[in-house]
Symmetry: C2
Subunit: 360 residues, 2 copies
């Protein structure tokens, strides 16, 4: 096997090598049972144990209270944009949304198809380079919830504190789940696609307060009701077994590596190294405002688009892969999720110094 | 690695060993690129090639005409029960359904949530032990389609010929896709969860006639419109990358093993061995009527429930795993999908002979 590259991709993204090695073994012969993991019936006692381990892993790491159900669903966060209002809003009810980027906008669009979205704040005019402060918006008294995207992958912004509101919070945490603790007392529901910080693509984690499950109308298709999946421990139909299994492995790895608190510390260190580099020279310019900077996705520009192209090309040649920014804002982006090793950040910084020197 | 067991599970089910071995390698280091398959960005050229190969594999094997789109979706066949009427029926339109078992019933339930289902035939009174003949039902003139489940996993029945109708056919082929040729000229849409005959759980294949894509109303959530996924080649959002990749590998394996025609021949041989055994002694009793017998799932009973428990137990001990029938009908079931080796069927028959002799 050649050397492993550093994968700065925004998702699917890098995973712990231990997880990959274990998965490779289990796929061919699970627990030496003479059957591959992905051939196991989801009703077998072997797979039920896999499910139980993933559920318990998430619950322990995130300290999920007993009155919240942990669901492993399909369809990605994009399906949650519709399921949240389908399950939580009646036809004449509304939810309040903070528009901090592409994924928030998509959620707003779906809420308006199903019920009504009040957009209390939009950062669109400033190219989504920040998240709002509490004083920047108000939430209508007759709104059912306040929805926000905790980390904006594309723009590289992140809420440092939970938005304050007397409404329950709903959050899309796809790109920073498991990177810090969550105060569930403020939340009605959180969700996250696994493929950034928690596993491979193909499973979406939903953690929902149990008393909300009965809100859903019987005009909602069975598979789109949280209640359906909660009642059957995510086994109403065949679940995405392999992706669930990987989430369980990632949880084990997280636990062995300091848990969510340990990750928060390491992530802060990794991000500081990179932001310090960016701030040390006018050659690089961070996209996000300083107090909104994401610890997961570091977005920056070079003096010209041509230099950015060259930078990304040379980076790839050196095994620093996936540094291209999202097509909607261009520039560069380094995604440094939980499983991304600090050495990769140090190598990137060394390359950035070299590249700036050669091209200034 | 210990000996590989024979996995008679109805799904997730047995997969070709070559597929497992290749997946194990690629998960750690894809194409020797120093990055794991499940870490690849779905927008990377490496993964785009994986997608293209899977799409082309399905198209070639099933001879899918150019005017049909091949989609790789999430949510399982159970989500398709709702998506079919959501996309194909207006509020005052109806589809016609043949109720041949649990999965048909679930599809009927969802169609009635969204629009209206006409049940033209039900085999429920006879414990779903057969599929109807064309003369057994009529389809209303104002119906939009005729929906049927091509193979009924739980009851072990299968349509040998396509139901005749001047309406377009819609079919849930989850448990016999890729086991025989499909005459697409009769179809509007087919779908199939991958985890029985085509790959691991987590991806659902939908093949839909392009002219039907525009039927969907804009009140349907974006992710539930076929049109959304068709316009973006199943990459509107992050797809279930690993499961798609495996479908591509299975297609390669199928091609190397005689394609769909080769499988049809082998499947007929395997099933004949088992049904001949069942018919050779009154000790075993097939559940399905002879002309409705499935080549994929062979359901049968023993003289008493106690003997069935003992049979399943002894089978498991001999490495003949997953022989327990579905809880809704009990008894025994041997699922012998494409990837199930003939030797496993021969071993099962030898065990059945021995068990009958010892317990008659």
């Amino acid at each position: 096997m050649p050397e492993r590259i550093y994968n700065f991709s925004p998702g699917p993204g890098t995973l712990p090598q231990e997880v990959l090695t274990q998965a490779a073994k289990d796929i061919v012969n699970f627990n030496d049972k003479g059957i591959g993991l992905i051939e196991l019936s989801h009703r077998s006692k072997e797979f039920m144990a896999v499910y139980a381990e993933a559920e318990a892993g998430v619950r322990e790491l995130l300290e999920v209270p007993d009155n919240f159900k942990i669901l492993f669903l399909q369809g990605g966060a994009s399906t949650q944009f519709a399921m949240v209002p389908m399950n939580l809003l009646g036809k004449n009810q509304k939810g309040t949304y903070l528009n901090t980027g592409t994924w928030a906008k998509k959620a707003i669009k779906e809420a308006n198809i199903i019920a009504s979205a009040e957009v209390a704040y939009s950062a669109e005019d400033s190219m989504f380079n920040h998240v709002p402060r509490d004083s920047d918006y108000t939430v209508a008294a007759d709104s059912e919830y306040l929805y926000f995207v905790s980390n904006n992958t594309i723009y590289g912004t992140q809420f440092k504190e939970l938005p304050k509101s007397d409404k329950m919070l709903i959050s899309d945490m796809s790109s920073d789940i498991m990177s810090r603790a969550i105060d569930f007392s403020k939340f009605g529901l959180i969700f996250a696609g696994a493929q950034k910080n928690m596993g491979p693509a193909g499973v979406t984690l939903v953690i929902v307060r149990e008393d909300l499950l009965d809100r859903v109308a019987d005009t909602v298709p069975t598979m789109l009701r949280y209640k359906t999946h909660a009642a059957k421990d995510s086994m109403f139909n065949t679940p995405p077994c392999f992706a669930m299994y990987c989430v369980g492995l990632v949880c084990k790895w997280l636990k062995a590596n300091g848990g969510v608190a340990g990750m928060a510390k390491k992530n802060a260190e990794k991000a500081a190294i990179l932001y310090d580099m960016i701030d040390s020279t006018p050659f690089y310019k961070g996209h996000a405002q300083k107090d909104s900077r994401s610890l997961m996705n570091v977005t920056f520009n070079l003096p010209t688009p041509e230099l950015e192209v060259e930078f990304i090309k040379q980076g790839t040649e050196r095994g620093l892969d996936g540094l291209k920014g999202h097509r909607s804002i261009g520039g560069c982006r380094a995604s440094i999720y939980n499983a991304f090793p600090q050495q990769g950040v140090l190598d990137l910084v060394a390359f950035m110094q070299e590249f700036a020197k050669a091209n200034s």
